[in-house]
């Protein structure tokens, strides 16, 4: 597959994964390995920050091809996010950050105002910022201007497995973005991931659909294939969809008469 480059780092896999909701750390490790994912997000709030070497989850992610993407899940404001980012950079030794600010604990919907403010500040502080946001094309442009490395618009509420409910807006975002677009949240089945890739997303991030599957490792492998297939289809150029049959009684044939 053609490689994806974000902030100078090259990824062979366009499937990013998460670490939450697995029944055990071992299953998590096996599923992530089966997915081929090279970028794995970790909620800082779940990590023993004072002693990351001993942390059960982090120790399972020590593979040379896996890069950690700490996320700020749990923060409610830009100020808290900046503080969390600095803790993450120190504890996990990476300046990459998935910026998540969802003050609403019910649907975990991202706060656009706080996210933009935090993104500006974090870019200044030298972070590689990947913000989780609503599928809002204008916000994406504003974040681009702020200097983020990619945007991560949602397909549906996080953990909902509902698929690309924001399809029309994702298409607008993809068509006008100058940074990679990673569809995050809501992808519940390999077919959803393939669809996101087919419309030109640069990558997808999948967590719940793998972690909560009957067989997480097998599902991770299924997602790997779907993402590859979707990307190939995008590169191959999908045929247009014809809504109507060709008219048997042409309306403008008289022009040729």
């Amino acid at each position: 597959m053609d490689p994806l480059i974000i902030a100078g780092r090259t990824f062979e896999s366009r499937l990013f994964t998460g670490t939450g909701k697995f029944g055990s750390s071992k299953t998590m490790e096996e599923a992530i390995l089966a997915s081929g994912s090279e970028l794995v997000t970790v909620a800082l709030k779940r990590v023993d920050i004072s002693n990351t070497q001993q942390d059960g989850m982090i120790s399972m992610l020590q593979h040379p091809h896996i890069h950690l993407l700490p996320n700020t899940s749990g923060v409610r404001t830009a100020k808290e996010a900046v503080y969390a980012a600095q803790l993450a950079r120190e504890a996990l030794e990476t300046n990459w950050l998935k910026l998540e600010i969802h003050p609403d604990p019910r649907y975990l919907l991202p706060d656009p105002v706080e996210t933009l403010e935090a993104a500006k500040e974090l870019v200044k502080l030298g972070f590689v910022v990947l913000p989780y946001i609503h599928a809002d094309p204008v916000l994406c442009k504003r974040l681009e201007e702020a200097g983020v490395a990619a945007v991560m618009p949602l397909g549906a509420p996080i953990g909902s497995n509902k698929g690309l409910r924001t399809l029309d807006f994702l298409e607008i975002i993809i068509s006008q973005s100058t940074v990679p677009v990673i569809v995050d949240a809501g992808i519940g089945a390999p077919s959803h991931a393939a669809q996101a890739m087919e419309i030109g997303a640069d990558a997808v991030l999948v967590n719940t659909a793998i972690a909560v599957a009957g067989q997480p490792v097998r599902m991770a492998a299924a997602f790997k294939q779907a993402v590859m297939a979707g990307r190939e289809a995008y590169l191959a150029g999908l045929g247009g969809i014809s809504v109507h049959a060709n008219a048997s009684s042409p309306l403008v044939a008289f022009l040729d008469e």
Binding site: G20, K21, F22, G23, S24, S25, L44, K45, R46, V47, D48, I49, T72, G74, V75, R76, K79, E80, A81, Y83, A84, L87, P103, D104, P105, R106, Y107, G159, S160, N161, T208, A211, V212
Partner: protein, 368 residues
């Protein structure tokens, strides 16, 4: 507006009659919806829902797994004091119950902290009676920072306070507050709380509002099951939850369903709730709110708790001591109630793993 305005629009007897009048058709309609209303909740806790328990349990398991994954959060209660100026007919710490009173000092607290840390806990729940002279806001202001240094998440189950007092404690490390209404039946509430500040029904009822206004991260709700008709009391809890979620939308919520346990000199439950009924209630809460945390303590037996890991519960305590100093300082002091599941934290964590679930000790960092 506060919850009291909504509460006053509902009469206990009307709600009770409505619940008992629910039909299988109402239950089926509630089951078929993707979002459920307080009226649907009534159907799900009604006797008419009993034959649908298997279906409710499957839905509850699926919704819980999707939202929370295959995980179970663990916490330990730490009792700081059994001094109390309230008379509560069902409580071991009641003012009129003759027992040796004890409030942990700073050095004793450090010993308890060490003992609980050794067990692996990152989330703790601080518990006291209501005694403003000894365990008032000043005591908590001094105590919270001690806990905050050693634990990722500190919750409290103590007397209700004013908004400004909560605003004072939150920056010191207070993450969440559990405040159970005990019962929403106002007359019965007065009967069970004849003396002390707790006798003020309205002040207690509005405590979650004050907490929400103060910007707390999480609020725990619940009633003491056994005091009154549990179906009606649970409806009011659900109504309270519904109001709070809409009003204080940045706060998370948890619900507990403690069944009255025996203690020395205590009251027998007026209303019994069977295991089957408790499972029905747990599933009804999950179907009503996909995101609410549901917590089950060591009041329940080990055997029963094991079976509930996969049915909707998201949080458990384990190896609990319900007496001040119970972990290290004074293991023999009198407990608030007899715990039923006496297994250690390690044993409970092992049981959770055996079911293919991950015990989660830490799910919070204070990013400020």
């Amino acid at each position: 507006m506060s919850f009291e305005d909504i509460f006053r629009q509902h009469r206990w007897d009307d709600i009770k009659s409505a619940i008992y009048a629910k039909t299988p058709a109402d239950v089926e309609q509630a089951l078929s919806r993707s979002r459920r209303t307080p009226d649907d909740f009534m159907a799900l806790v009604s006797p008419a829902a009993a034959p649908y328990l298997e279906q409710m349990a499957h839905l509850s398991r699926q919704l819980t797994q999707q939202r929370f994954g295959r995980t179970m959060q663990l916490y330990a209660p730490i009792y700081l004091s059994n001094e109390c100026q309230n008379i509560c007919t069902y409580c071991g710490f009641s003012y009129d119950n003759p027992l040796r009173r004890k409030t942990l000092s700073g050095t004793e607290i450090l010993r308890e902290i060490e003992a609980v840390r050794t067990l692996g806990y990152e989330h703790v729940l601080l518990v006291t009676g209501e005694a403003h002279q000894t365990v008032g806001v000043d005591y908590f202001s001094k105590t919270l920072p001690l806990f905050r240094q050693h634990f990722a998440q500190v919750s409290m189950e103590v007397q209700p306070m004013d908004r400004d007092e909560y605003e004072q404690l939150i920056p010191l490390g207070l993450h969440s507050v559990l405040v159970y209404q005990e019962t929403y039946h106002e007359e019965d509430y007065r009967k069970h709380h004849p003396k002390g500040k707790k006798s003020r029904f309205g002040y207690r009822l509005e405590t979650p509002d004050r907490l929400g206004q103060a910007g707390i991260h999480k609020i725990g709700l619940g009633v003491l099951i056994g005091l009154e008709d549990w179906r009606t009391d649970s409806f009011f809890t659900a109504l309270h939850l519904d109001y709070l979620q809409k009003t204080y939308w940045q706060t998370r919520y948890s619900i507990s369903f403690p069944r009255l346990r025996p203690f020395s000199g205590g009251l027998a439950p007026k209303v019994d709730m069977s295991d089957r009924e408790l499972v029905q209630l747990i599933c009804a809460y999950r179907l009503f709110s996909e995101e609410v945390e549901l917590s089950l303590s060591t009041r329940e037996s080990g055997q029963f708790r094991d079976r509930l890991v996969q049915l909707g519960i998201t949080t458990m305590s384990a190896g609990s001591k319900t007496n001040p100093g119970g972990y290290a300082v004074d293991p023999q002091s009198l407990e608030q109630f007899e715990i039923s599941d006496e297994r250690s934290a390690g044993e409970v964590a092992g049981m959770i793993r055996q079911q293919g679930y991950e015990p989660v000790w830490k799910d919070w960092s204070a990013f400020q």
